[in-house]
């Protein structure tokens, strides 16, 4: 990626194995899906050409726009919440604690457990009245008849909490790897010069950590757009479609209601949307991400 060196065509050979897999199982299928989206294609009937009309009818469907909104709400909350929490834990752990490795592994545990198993436990904890969350709230004197997964907005909140719980250990790990790359000399020198911990973080660690932060933000965003298993396990997109994100909408349309053509159209929009968002993130990163090397 640096242009000053001479071209090295052997690099293409290094790229070949990965590219074959990507092209055969991701890019070609994506093109097929883009093709399907122009056909009325149900159950496996003979597809009929309908042009862009499935996109048009999608734009006229309330549920589509609702799921776009829900996808964004979910992604923004998970990206901001998850990034902030993991940054907090990473910096706390990195500030010279002895049990650093132990804590890091413990926070990582939820990520290692099968999603299907942990989401079932969370479902139990979210049960109205008798679920653990409500019992704790009740013990603390709050109202404890909250239908966590039975009310559209709270169901989304439940999903967000679960997803952050699930993934913050992994992003903490990424942040800590990034922190390891920052030399301690700079922060120590600043400490000698009398900078407070707060100043040291914002003036030195934060800018030097920006490549990692950028990476975590991009990955978190893509992952939250792609979230499926927990939605499937916790809420099945309900209640009243309150947690139907675009991914879930695609699944439901294709595999519960058999509208392959329409599901393909949603998938194409989904792809373009997150492509654009990632593009924006990269564009911003060029101005604000600071590369040490």
């Amino acid at each position: 990626m640096n242009a000053e060196h001479k071209a090295q065509p052997i690099g293409y050979l290094y790229l070949m194995p990965a590219l074959i897999v990507f092209l055969l199982f991701w890019i070609v299928p994506l093109m097929m899906v883009a093709g399907f989206s122009l056909f009325h294609f149900e159950y496996g009937t003979h597809p009929t050409w309908v042009g862009l009309s499935q996109y048009v009818s999608l734009f006229q469907t309330n549920l589509f726009w609702q799921s776009v909104r829900i996808t964004f709400e979910f992604a923004i909350a998970v990206v901001l919440g998850g990034t902030a929490i993991s940054l907090l834990f990473a910096t706390l752990l990195y500030s010279g604690l002895r049990a650093q490795g132990l804590f890091r592994s413990l926070f990582f545990l939820p990520y290692v457990m099968p999603v299907v198993a942990t989401s079932t436990v969370w479902l139990w904890m979210y049960q109205p009245n008798l679920g653990l969350v409500d019992q704790l709230l009740g013990a603390l004197g709050f109202s404890n008849k909250i239908g966590w997964v039975n009310t559209p907005n709270l169901a989304l909140v439940s999903l967000i909490i679960y997803t952050v719980w699930l993934s913050f250990g992994f992003t903490t790990l990424l942040f800590m790897a990034g922190l390891t790359n920052i030399s301690n000399e700079l922060t120590e020198a600043a400490a000698v010069d009398g900078a407070t911990a707060w100043q040291r973080f914002w003036r030195i660690t934060w800018p030097l950590l920006s490549p990692t932060t950028f990476f975590v933000l991009v990955v978190n965003m893509i992952n939250s757009f792609q979230a499926f298993t927990q939605i499937y396990a916790l809420t099945r997109g309900g209640p009243i479609n309150g947690t139907t994100t675009l991914t879930y909408y695609i699944y439901q349309t294709a595999f519960n209601y058999f509208h392959f053509g329409q599901a393909s159209a949603i998938a194409v929009i989904f792809f373009l949307l997150i492509l654009a968002l990632t593009g924006i993130q990269f564009w911003i990163s060029r101005r604000s991400v600071f590369y040490e090397a």
Binding site: G11, F270, I274
Partner: protein, 227 residues
């Protein structure tokens, strides 16, 4: 004194966070070890009771060892393959200047944005045409390269000083030698992270294996956990 108090507060906060974080996981074991009727009663469920028939009942129903061995095998092979292809690709993108690197990196990133459930049917058609239905291959090869893995490795390799590469080249170190002798050993933490990620991705798979396989001979454990 202030430093000690600070340290004490940090530890207290971290330990409290660990307890909250791990509670649901601990609960899985607590509830599965007792009869299901008490699963809801809190704090009754806080004290695990050993009712092993819960485990036995589950175990007797399926060839668990086979499922488990399949999961581990598929996971390990997928991880090793995907790590290899991703390390090679990331190295080429960072250290071998080529005209098409940027668009190729773009395509690799784009694979992360494809909603998998929409390409499941095309992928099934491809796997069927390759004659891979009901095999390990169908569960391994489509995941033998990973966009996230390439992206992460590229990020880490970029932080490597370029001067080091130039110095090594003057000393006559080949690209291949530089990759395996210098880059990989220095990137072990990053590679481990990616490795865990890849293994878990394979381990947590449930719908794809269920669709491309027919029976416990080649199925991973995820197939039995469908909700």
């Amino acid at each position: 004194m202030i430093r000690k108090t600070k340290r004490f507060l940090t530890y207290t906060f971290l330990i409290a966070s660990v307890v909250i974080t791990l509670f649901p996981i601990w609960w899985i074991f607590a509830t599965s070890l007792e009869t299901s009727r008490r699963a809801y009663s809190f704090p009754g469920a806080l004290i695990p009771q050993l009712h092993w028939q819960n485990y036995r009942a589950a175990w007797l129903l399926a060839p668990w060892f086979r499922f488990l061995a399949n999961s581990v095998g598929i996971g390990l092979i997928t991880t090793v393959l995907a790590l290899s292809t991703s390390i090679l690709a990331a190295y080429a993108l960072v250290f071998m200047a080529n005209r098409w690197n940027k668009p190729i990196f773009g395509i690799i990133l784009a694979t992360m944005m494809v909603p998998f459930y929409s390409i499941m049917i095309p992928d099934y058609l491809i796997v069927r045409d390759l004659g891979w239905l009901n095999s390990y291959t169908a569960q391994i090869i489509p995941f033998a390269a990973n966009g996230f893995a390439v992206f992460l490795l590229v990020q880490f390799m970029r932080t490597f000083p370029k001067e080091l590469r130039d110095a090594a080249r003057i000393d006559g170190v080949t690209q291949w030698g530089y990759l395996w002798k210098i880059i990989v050993p220095n990137l072990i933490p990053a590679i481990t992270t990616v490795g865990i990620y890849l293994f878990l991705l394979s381990w947590n798979a449930f719908l794809w294996p269920l669709i491309v396989t027919n029976g416990p001979q080649v199925q991973p454990i995820g197939c039995t956990l469908f909700l």
